[in-house]
Amino acid sequence: MRIFYTDVLVVGGGLAGLRAAVGARRRGHDVTILSLVPPKRSHSAAAQGGMQASLANTTKGAGDNEDVHFEDTVRGSDWGCDQVVARMFAHTAPKAVRELAAWGVPWNRVTAGTREVVMDGKHVTLEEPALAHGLITARDFGGTKKWRTCYVSDGTGHAMLYAVSDRAIAEGIPVHERKEAIALIHDGGRCHGAIVRDLVSGDLTAYLARATCIATGGFGRLYRSTTNAVINEGMGAAIALETGAATLANMEAVQFHPTAIFPAGILVTEGCRGDGGVLRDAAGHRFMPDYEPEKKELASRDVVSRRMEQHLRAGHGATSPFGQHLWLDITLLGTAHIDGKLREVKEICRNFLGIDPARDWIAVRPAQHYSMGGIRTDATGAARGLVGLYACGEAACWDLHGFNRLGGNSVAETVVAGMIVGEHIADLCESSDGDLTFSTALAAEFLSREEARLGALLHGGGAESPVALMTRMQTLMTDNVGIFRRGDLLQDAVTELRALSVRARNLHVGTQRRGANPELVTAYRLQRMLKLSLCVTEGALARTESRGAHFREDYPRRDDATWLQRTLATWPDPEQATPTLAYEPLDVMSMELPPGWRGYGARDAIEHPDTERRAREVAALREARPAADRHALQAALLPFLHLLPPRLRGPNARAGGDA
């Protein structure tokens, strides 16, 4: 039996996993990272537009601080997020940007003096103060009150990933590449590590660890039309689900990005609209102001995507051999801006559409983009249900994003969560709970179980094609569990997903090679992806309201009275056909920002009975302490600093002082 021991096992070599690994390593623990691919190939590299942090260095960022970032994030989430987590995040984000600057990220900087920008389709002159010259600059993004998104041209994720990956190399952290965790080893109460398959040799090894952290990103590949990389198949969430003990949350909260190029589905950044780009229809009409007169193209992503699909349904789409689409127009930004700040966009347009975005409009249509749901953790990143299991980044439902994530808050979450969770993992390792009672019998049991599962796929003599079933699942998810959802379509999807799951027990794998075998990989991932698809779809069917990115045509109102709850999905019995759903209420009485109107569409939410009482309580508290500084007031409303590692608790300095 192959056994490998490490103090901390991090599954996933993207930004979240790397940053958590560095944190635990710096506390003196042995850390091993598993990655499907060389870590610098991770999907973090695809984040283009930037990372939100309230540095307030620019003219349009003046007055920004943690409070404003917090409120934008909560409103963006449609009140579905955990407000304590949103506070921890908004407080730590400036530190994360500054740490990354010290590690080499070449953030774009403020140039003092006047500059031309495009806002709302018009050229405007802004003046940046001399005081800010050389500090980290920021651009506008959707759903934010201030220009808060720090960036490196439109290769922000790339620059961040390289800096953090190189930092992990500097710390001597080994990355075991082309390895896949295919099961978590656990005894029902504690996680002991993972069974790991070598994607080249096919060998299985039991990795035993005091703490295991899943940072495998999202599950966009459940969908046919997605901006996600081909490795984003949700395997981290799936192996957590298969323990029967760990819990997934809000799996139905799936984000669709407004501007994926059509038909390839490749992302072009929200920075295109943040920097002044507009959306047009077949007639060349700029249609977003008709629907959202205030925020227009810079409404929250869920809103813009819905409005685009609505406009397409109304017959205003441009026609192509692949179907209907709309246009993103950034020609008004000019060649110099595109060459400097939107160069990846320019390359993508050239390579995949054969156009120059400085002259031509870009064909776009919304596509699946982000998984707000994932492995349910507490505020420290500890997974519910298994001691010693952690999750961070997109794989987790830490619950920063609720039912809609703001652009620029995902790469920010990766590093912020990594900074926080890495320290909590180190705390666990240094506590009595960190002791691992080493059981070779348990490891052997899981190893032989997984060997048997793979053997059954290779030699089971089934008849179904893994590729055909995968394609059908992806098409079904895009068609029936997309931007507009309806009870009957969701019910159809559940029925068919169950049928696909039955068929997926009878797969035919023609390639008998034990080692590198893409067909075998598709087969075993398909079985797990079907389980995740069922979690998404069953959750969407049960949630009879509309909140953030989850929009039910048959239940268009947000219903706080019934649905101010987080969906929890578990799979306690491997033989059960569908997940077990349960719900976790969000406590209105402890919210710093009680539920209200997001600023889009009708004010028609069904109120929670506690909302008014809490709103009065918050108002009274603010009135009673008119002289209190904002930090003291905030601490009285929703304490959070105690949940942060001590080194991250300090106040954030700003060049212009505290707003």
Partner: protein
């Protein structure tokens, strides 16, 4: 109106599976071209319909992650951002040379790049940790942009595959490595001096091993100015060597 007849493509792929006995050989696959078809789409179609055992690497399929470097008609390039439309009806695909072959078109760039990073210490060397609560140190906007020019490298390995020296010297750091040193030389946050850089690349496995064939510059999918980066670095290292 009927759609125009699609082109019939014949794709010759160099097949190999280290560990298995079969010697590397070209195998021809025939598929119909579709509109806007990239090699990402073509190879996935071959794997889905003709040979499920075919090995290749894609991650982002958008030209930004660097996973899919391969020889396309003998020239290194990214498969995901190559349109079949730009190739003839018959062409060859082969794995990048220099890197260890995993199977078919899949090569192990990860181990090579990690070894290069460890050797050249491709990270900021600073004696003190940053104060995360304080306003960040300033940097000239133009300098940040110049650093990003070099920082855009995606470690795809095309420059190594196109390099004469790398074929002959197994320890040559190549354009990817030299470009990284050029990047850190520019960066005031890295406290290393030219004497330190010289110790890393002031030899024939570093900047003096370059024969100035500049295949790297011609094939870089990100259009990095490798020619200038290597030239400036060589000038700096020569000056250091003469001290």
């Amino acid at each position: 109106m009927s759609a125009p007849t699609p082109r019939r493509l014949t794709i010759h792929i160099l097949r190999s599976a280290p560990g298995d006995d079969a010697t590397p050989h070209f195998e021809a696959f025939r598929i119909d071209e579709s509109e806007g078809m990239t090699l990402f789409i073509a190879l996935n179609e071959i794997r889905a319909n003709l040979d499920p055992s075919l090995q290749f690497d894609f991650v982002c399929r958008a030209g930004i992650c660097g996973s899919c470097g391969m020889l396309i008609n003998g020239r290194p390039g990214l498969a995901c951002s190559t349109l079949t439309h730009d190739l003839g009806t018959e062409f060859t695909l082969a794995p990048l040379p220099v890197f260890a072959v995993i199977g078919d078109l899949s090569v192990d760039t990860g181990r090579w790049m990690r070894a290069m990073s460890e050797r050249l210490e491709t990270w900021i060397h600073a004696t003190t940790d940053a104060d995360l609560d304080a306003v960040e140190p300033r940097m000239e906007p133009a300098l940040a942009e110049a650093i990003y020019e070099a920082d855009r490298c995606i470690e795809c390995g095309c420059c190594i595959a196109a390099c004469g020296t790398a074929q002959m010297r197994p320890d040559f750091v190549g354009a990817v490595g030299l470009n990284k040193i050029a990047r850190f030389r520019l960066d005031p946050r890295d406290e290393r001096e030219d004497a330190d850089h010289y110790a890393l690349v002031g030899n024939d496995d570093g900047v003096f091993g370059c024969m100035t064939l500049l295949g790297c510059h011609d094939v870089c999918p990100k259009g990095l100015s490798l020619r200038s980066q290597i030239a400036y670095l060589r000038r700096g290292m020569a000056a250091q060597g003469l001290r």
